[in-house]
Amino acid sequence: AGQDVGRSCILVSIGGKNIMLDCGMHMGYNDDRRFPDFSYITQNGRLTDYLDCVIISHFHLDHCGALPYMSEMVGYDGPIYMTHPTKAICPILLEDFRKITVDKKGETNFFTSQMIKDCMKKVVPLNLHQTVQVDDELEIKAYYAGHVLGAAMVQIKVGSESVVYTGDYNMTPDRHLGAAWIDKCRPDILITESTYATTIRDSKRCRERDFLKKVHETIERGGKVLIPVFALGRAQELCILLETFWERMNLKAPIYFSTGLTEKANHYYKLFITWTNQKIRKTFVQRNMFEFKHIKAFDRSYADNPGPMVVFATPGMLHAGQSLQIFKKWAGNEKNMVIMPGYCVQGTVGHKILNGQKKLEMEGRATLEVKLQVEYMSFSAHADAKGIMQLIRMAEPHNILLVHGEAKKMAFLKDKIEQEFNISCYMPANGETTTVTTNPSVPVDISLNLLKREMALGGPLPDPKRPRTMHGTLIMKDNSLRLVSPEQALKELGLSEHQLRFTCRVHLQDPHSDTDTLSRIYSHLKSVLKGYAVQHLPDSTVMVESIVLKVSSSAEEPDLKVVLLSWCFQ
């Protein structure tokens, strides 16, 4: 996903571990470029030896579409991590995708249903906030991302180094999902999507009002509304929106959604209600938001029924299936309307009509005149520029790496991030490697005695004006690092202390007796050396801190005093 949307697949090497983040396909291609280039990882053979784990952030095909290809056709047997909802929904979408490519387009050399099943057997489900120990050193943790049901951000940690990968996320709660959240985990690198790197979207309420108004107007004048959707995600949000609107306005026109996947999808939402937003979770016992009163299953024959109706039909880009069939039936009537709630890939009918094409060539040389109204409305749940900045503020990363966006927009965001946070920001292209050097501190076990003594000496509050220096000995043995007081180190290592003393003699003339001389020296030193401990000891010595003074004289020359000064090595 380097400087590009689609085919998300990122390889992270951290502390000697290799992790693959997402394994997606590109919707816009039908050739080899559809899947990531796995030969980039290893030229020959299986990926199992090279990868420690694979993590899938959510069930969209541009994030998991290449998974069976990677695990079954290229060869990978290690763990694949994803959340429960992703694990539940992802195989259905993969199977759907396979059917379209193999059965409809007749492609061979593609993964089979069995491969999808085998691939899913390698999946280890991931719970939010659970710390999963992949091996002794590598741990991963998932955070709520809000983009679709079960979307997650992941933190990958080896020792003191860590990386956070956001997948796709959304920082504003919508009608059925909550907002992404992460704690202040201060990762070394934050890998974030940047689909809407330059946009700050207008308020969601406005877009919703707009949408409802258009639907309502069409219904009022007796027209039919077609909403081509993908089975999961936006469909549910729009269903909730229409459901509540119908209830409030007391509308009678029927709403249908095409049978099969969408219906099943609602069921998934019901069972994974803990992954939806606060409001839905709170009220689900009294009223499950995904049990729609006004929305009924669609039957093919209903399309010809007279009178207004709203139909949700799959797929979302009008390239095949039920949505296209209905579109063909309704296209000729200008009273009708089609609302495209998402992005359409080039070449699809959806893309053509959005570009204002009025005559479509159908198979069998027939042309279709498009008279109905065409509306585009983006309900895509990605974070906008504001949201991305908000997440950066939340996690406080040391470096940022932008993926899943267009190069130009990324460059703009990169500048903005570097300006505002003063941290380095990267935006590698596909196949490019970015290396970030970390500067980890060294964990050491300190003896509690030493630490407590030091903390007691430091007083209850640290004093920045008077830094205290602590002294200790670091013992390095096998693989352990322990910091202890020097005395303890001697004891532990079975060493005895070596005393190093120095002595020097000073001669001076003094007529007094030895003891008097000493007292005179004592009182002099005491007056000169303020702030030092000067002591007169009973065994006729004077101590200045640790320096010992002694006075002696010989019998022959009682006036020539010899002052012995003796001190320890400091």
Partner: protein, 665 residues
């Protein structure tokens, strides 16, 4: 490290652990067995209960006829039932930093702890524990508030009565003799207090590492007992305490127990073992089904007093399969509780917390529990109470699941009054928390059949012994009840914990000093400091380096930074200040170790230009006379003495030579 034990009930524990600088409360169970001393609270007026004679002591000196009533030869308190709280005087509850909840049965005293005590900490629980715990509290409050009692009896608790009333105590159900804490018994909390208490809960997931003040890390582990039930690991970098509470190794609906994470604990606190160690849950389930079938076939009704969550899910699942095979597919099940619907709904949305085979159902997508199908096919119906729809819709014979298992309040009271007189009907006890004889006491004489099949899936002594052998904790702490066989089966030495070293036993109000000492703490050396260190090898494989650094302690995290370079102070001004600071910056005497080999030392002396050396042997070593320089060096095994007069450069040279042979520490 200290452990304060606030509850004597082994399966409803409440302990407080003081570890490092944190105060952690482990569970706060509410002992509701005290309700057994009270008269049942009927939902509709019961002439039988209202006509009971008051109690007056035989000699007539104590008259409590308003508060105590005689029923079927026993004396009961006629009042709103009260519950036995965890001890609140042993330590100041406002100092508790966090409360860790292991399962929803062990959080029922939460409002008593968090409200009106000055508690200002955080409560950690998993989402199912939180949600179902809330339902159970809500249910309890509704049961109590639905049938308000005009009077609340307090006279019987007063000291004089208790002292005089030895007779009374004898006449009350046996265990009241032990129930010395009657003063601390309290009536139920209000919904407002529940909400306020629950607002302090922070949700956690299994294996989520939660940092407490940077000092301690706590982690909940799956315990296999109920939805979202957990054991807790409380650890620092060097010490590990495991808290095991209500765990199960049986395959029921929850996620299986994680045993391996409990390994290498310094202390393992063990609570919540099975209360019925002699009964096998599978056998009990079989007995439950066969008794149920027998009653229904004979045209009677079955009453199952139970909690609104937990074993009921397993019972429904078991009956779902059993009823069809027993040809009783048309018998209706009724689940009556203010929270029946919520409980059934919630059970279906916690797929992540369920066992593997239930989890995989969600992927289809199908509801994990078969009771969804029972509801859909109208075989299981749920009602908030016996009032309203239920009375018009209910058909007999039927099976009724309802609470409360103490038989003192809730809808179950009504069914006992209704069905108790017919021997066709059966009451089947499945909850192990209450003695069924005591529970039934105020309903005697009873014609209804009674079957006791307690289902307690928690660990039994055999399983616990195996578990402890596996995880090898250094010390085990447990309630005193586990260190001796149950009083009723005193010969069964297999129904107790036998360990080497013996477990540390606690009882209510014990304060235990846990037997281990902390020796180390984790500290971070900043990379700049680490780079500046100069290690030297002292012994093969062991290197040392002296570290002089500034210690920074923040949020219980310690960091060593390099010593900042002293800022040059202009010498003229503030001379006094400078003088003051000098001793502080002085490094203390470094410790030296090692010995100085004579020959090598002489050689190096020679190299640095000292040639005239006279060596004299002494008792402890050698004395070197440096004749040209008029200096003496006294070499001993662990001491060196350099005597030289005013020649400073010479002294420095000699010092450096000597130091070359020694290690600084």
């Amino acid at each position: 490290m200290k452990l304060y034990c606030l509850s004597g009930h082994p399966t409803l524990p409440c302990n407080v652990l003081k570890f490092k600088s944190t105060t952690i409360m482990l569970d706060c169970g509410l002992d509701t067995t005290s309700a057994l001393y009270y008269l049942p609270l009927p939902l509709v007026h019961s002439p039988r209960l209202s006509k009971l004679p008051g109690w007056v002591s035989k000699d007539g000196t104590v008259n409590l006829e308003k508060e105590l009533k005689e029923c079927a030869g026993r004396v009961f308190v006629d009042s709103q039932p009260e519950f036995c709280l965890p001890e609140r005087e042993l330590l100041d509850l406002s100092t508790v930093d966090v409360i860790l909840i292991s399962n929803y049965h062990c959080m029922m005293a939460l409002p008593y702890i968090t409200e009106h005590t000055g508690f200002s900490g955080t409560v950690y629980a998993t989402e199912p524990t939180f949600q179902i715990g809330r339902l159970l509290m809500e249910e309890l409050v509704t049961f109590m508030e639905r049938v308000p009692k005009a009077q609340s009896a307090t006279c019987w608790k007063t000291k004089e009565i208790q002292r005089q009333g030895c007779i009374l105590i004898v006449m009350l159900p046996g265990p009241l003799k032990d129930a010395v804490d009657v003063w601390s018994w309290r009536t139920c909390y209000s919904m407002q207090e529940v909400n306020s208490a629950l607002s302090r809960v922070q949700l956690v997931g299994y294996w989520q590492k939660v940092e407490l003040f940077g000092a301690v890390q706590v982690t909940p582990l799956s315990s296999g007992y109920s939805l979202g039930s957990s054991n807790w690991i409380i650890q620092s970098h060097f010490e590990k305490v495991s808290y095991v509470s209500g765990s199960s190794l049986l395959t029921t609906h929850p996620q299986p127990m994680d045993q391996s994470s409990l390994k290498n604990s310094d202390v393992l606190i063990l609570t919540g073992l099975t209360q019925i160690p002699t009964a096998n849950p599978d056998g009990m389930l079989g007995e439950f089904c066969s008794n149920l079938a027998m009653t229904i076939r004979a045209g009677g009704n079955v009453l199952v007093p139970c909690y609104s969550s937990g074993v009921i899910y397993d019972l429904l699942e078991c009956l779902y399969q059993f009823m069809d095979s027993a040809n009783l597919g048309t018998t209706p099940f009724y689940f009556i509780s203010p929270v029946a619907n919520s409980s059934l709904e919630f059970s279906q949305i916690f797929a992540e917390w369920l066992c593997q085979n239930k989890q995989s159902k969600v992927y289809l997508p199908e509801p994990p529990f078969p009771h969804a199908e029972l509801i859909q096919t109208n075989r299981l119906k749920h009602y908030t109470s016996i009032h309203g729809e239920f009375s018009s819709e209910f058909r007999q014979p039927c099976v009724v699941f309802t609470g409360h298992p103490s038989l003192r309040f809730g809808d179950v009271v009504h069914f006992l009054e209704l069905w108790g007189k017919s021997s066709l009907n059966t009451i089947i006890f499945t909850e192990p928390d209450f003695s069924y004889l005591d529970a039934l006491a105020p309903y005697q004489p009873l014609a209804m059949k009674c079957v006791y099949c307690p289902i307690d899936t928690r660990l039994n002594f055999h399983q616990v012994a195996k578990l402890l052998k596996e995880v090898q904790p250094l010390h085990v702490v447990c309630p005193e009840q586990y260190t001796q066989p149950p009083p009723a089966q005193s010969h069964r030495s297999d129904l107790m914990l036998e360990l080497q070293p013996p477990p540390v036993a606690y009882r209510r109000c014990s304060v235990l000093g846990l037997p281990f000492r902390r020796r180390h703490e984790r500290i971070q050396l900043l990379p700049e400091l680490a780079k500046a260190l100069v290690p030297s090898e002292i012994k093969p494989g062991i290197s040392v380096a002296t570290v002089s650094a500034v210690l920074q302690s923040k949020d219980n995290k310690h960091v060593l930074q390099p010593v900042p370079k002293p800022i040059p102070v202009p010498p003229s001004k503030k001379r006094k200040r400078l003088l003051e600071e000098v001793p502080e910056l002085l490094t203390p005497k470094p410790l030296l170790s090692g010995a100085i080999p004579l020959d090598a030392f002489l050689a190096s002396l020679h190299k640095s230009g000292v040639t005239e050396v006279k060596v004299e042997e002494t008792a402890g070593g050698h004395i070197l006379h440096l004749q040209a320089e008029d200096a003496l060096i006294q070499l001993e095994e662990d001491a060196t003495h350099i005597v030289c007069d005013t020649n400073e450069p010479l002294r420095a040279t000699l010092r450096d030579l000597v130091l070359r042979f020694l290690h600084k520490l």
